[in-house]
């Protein structure tokens, strides 16, 4: 009996250590994850391919400097209190805002308004300059872009979304925004992309940027491989 208690206590201590470490790692994740941004219901519907879908809007921002703040001067609606673009910002690392975790409803038409303020350059794979998976026109600063997409050597960031493994049918969305030709700061005049897509089945989707804005081989080191800067989740509910 005494030995059984001893064994039990050992197991409990072990489990407690494990839970403590686990909480540490979980907390580490929230160092890089902002509160979820939900797509806004417009209350309207629109016909897409013969189906009537609810329309949602989602605002997206890409900043050259993750240490800046997200407020009216950087594209947020007037009256928004300044909050850090990224909880754990790093000078010289770009980031997306207002969050890196989004929530959108399944099987809805999502209209995205994207303000891109970062600099850029050439893509690794010029195919990503072409929008894929969008519905209707894709506009840049109010003007429709050609079907072949934007100039692959003048790309700022891309918004590339994939469904969770096993989600069927195949869901893939990719839109590239051109670089900011001026001096890129968090408050400079953005390149505004507007596009719409139809969300897929429920699941935990992933988005990331396919423009190599990190360092190292392929430009995918550092910020590109750090979770929560150029990548994140989309909850499709």
């Amino acid at each position: 009996m005494k030995r059984a208690i001893g064994a039990l206590v050992t197991v409990l201590i072990g489990a407690a250590i494990f839970v403590a470490i686990g909480i540490g790692f979980h907390a580490q994740k929230y160092q890089s994850v902002a509160p979820t941004t939900k797509a806004v219901d417009t209350g309207t519907t629109q016909m897409v391919n013969g189906k009537s879908l609810k329309v949602y809007t989602l605002n997206l921002y890409s900043y050259p400097d993750s240490t800046g703040t997200f407020d009216a001067s950087t594209g947020a609606p007037a009256g928004t209190k300044p909050v850090a673009i990224h909880k754990n910002g790093n000078p010289g690392w770009p980031a997306y805002g207002p969050s890196n975790v989004f929530q959108i409803p399944a099987h809805a038409l999502v209209k995205v308004h994207w303000e891109q303020r970062d600099s850029g350059g050439s893509l690794n794979n010029s195919w990503f300059a072409k929008p894929t998976g969008t519905v209707g026109p894709v506009t840049l600063n109010g003007k429709e872009i050609p079907a072949s997409g934007i100039d692959p050597s003048q790309v700022g960031h891309t918004f590339t979304v994939r469904a969770e493994p096993g989600v069927d049918p195949h869901f893939f969305l990719n839109v590239a925004a051109p670089l900011n030709p001026g001096n890129p700061t968090d408050t400079s005049t953005p390149q505004v992309m507007e596009f719409s897509f139809v969300s897929g089945n429920k699941g935990l989707y992933e988005w990331n940027c396919e423009f190599p804005c990190g360092n190292g081989i392929g430009g995918f080191g550092a910020v590109m491989s750090a979770y929560g800067f150029m990548s994140g989740y989309i909850h499709v509910v």
């Binding site: 690794n124 794979n125 195919w127 894929t132 590339t160 994939r162 969770e164 493994p165 069927d168 049918p169 195949h170 893939f172 992933e206 990331n208 396919e210 190599p212 081989i217 392929g218 430009g219 995918f220 590109m224 491989s225 750090a226 979770y227 990548s231």
Partner: protein, 285 residues
């Protein structure tokens, strides 16, 4: 003092026969159910039966569906290997389990004094030779099986279509040769060998069209090739099998095996000119 100690080699030479007599005969002696052989045989049969049943039914049911002749042969290989391995493994289980049942006295685990010494059996030539020969034969069978399947799978055929697979962190894109069509979904015609020329834009990825049963790494800077022969219409998965960084888990997509007509239709829908499609699908023949 040293005269009391028998050198081990001396012992081997001198006492081998004597010891052999002490060992309870494996095949002979007494009624058949009392011979060790019989006990081992019972356990062996039981374990073999379980192994063979597992081999015949578990992998084929659990394994992903097959969409190509390569995956068919993977399935067959697993079944054949399990069925061959079952009786061999069962020999070890049979001997070990029989020893435990027959020669473990009740309560020996709680005793502080050891049981009496067993028979000083320091080896058994014929048993070793048989054991080795069986291993050698099995290895030869396995090797020839592997070589046969490998050569039949990867023999290029004249009418194979060649396409390019590009991996990059963390997306697969598939380029249909001269048609200049690029897609994130892999669509293939049925009953045509496809040669994938696989490369990467950044780090090493593993191109793994799961139900096609083939796999090759995508390396930056040059391309590697692998051939598959889709033989069944339907969907399949494409996964990345080589850890490639942050979103490795999401570097997955789906594919479809369609009829030749549907394939041409799909290419046309994607914007390929009829001439390019013809060049791509027919002229390969």
């Amino acid at each position: 003092m040293s005269s009391e100690n028998i050198e081990i080699d001396e012992f081997h030479e001198g006492k081998r026969e004597e010891v052999a007599k002490q060992v309870e005969p494996f095949f002979k002696g007494g009624p058949i159910w009392k011979r060790p052989f019989f006990g081992v045989f019972i356990i062996w049969s039981f374990m073999t039966l379980i192994g063979v049943l597992i081999g015949l039914f578990v992998p084929v049911h659990v394994l992903n569906g097959s969409s190509s002749s390569q995956q068919d042969s993977v399935k067959l290989t697993i079944v054949v290997f399990t069925v061959i391995a079952a009786p061999v493994s069962a020999v070890v289980y049979g001997i070990a389990a029989y020893s435990l049942i027959k020669w473990n006295k009740r309560g020996s685990g709680k005793s502080d004094t050891p049981p009496e010494d067993g028979v000083a059996l320091r080896g058994h030539g014929p048993a070793t030779v048989i054991w080795l020969s069986i291993s050698v034969v099995l290895v030869v069978i396995l090797l020839f099986w592997g070589m046969m399947v490998l050569s039949s799978e990867q023999t290029p055929q004249g009418d194979a279509i060649r396409m390019q697979v590009v991996g990059q962190q963390w997306v697969w894109t598939f380029q249909y040769g001269s048609t200049k069509i690029t897609s994130t979904q892999l669509v293939l015609p049925v009953d045509r060998q496809v040669v994938f020329e696989v490369s990467s834009k950044d780090v090493t990825h593993g191109f793994w069209p799961v139900q096609l049963g083939v796999q090759v790494d995508a390396n930056p800077g040059f391309s590697t090739t692998i051939a598959a022969s889709p033989n069944k219409l339907g969907k399949f998965d494409v996964r990345c099998s080589q850890l490639c960084g942050l979103e490795h888990a999401y570097m997955q997509t789906t594919g479809r095996v369609v009829t030749e007509k549907q394939f041409e239709h799909w290419l046309a829908q994607k914007g390929a000119s009829p001439k390019a499609i013809k060049l791509f699908t027919t002229d390969a023949k």
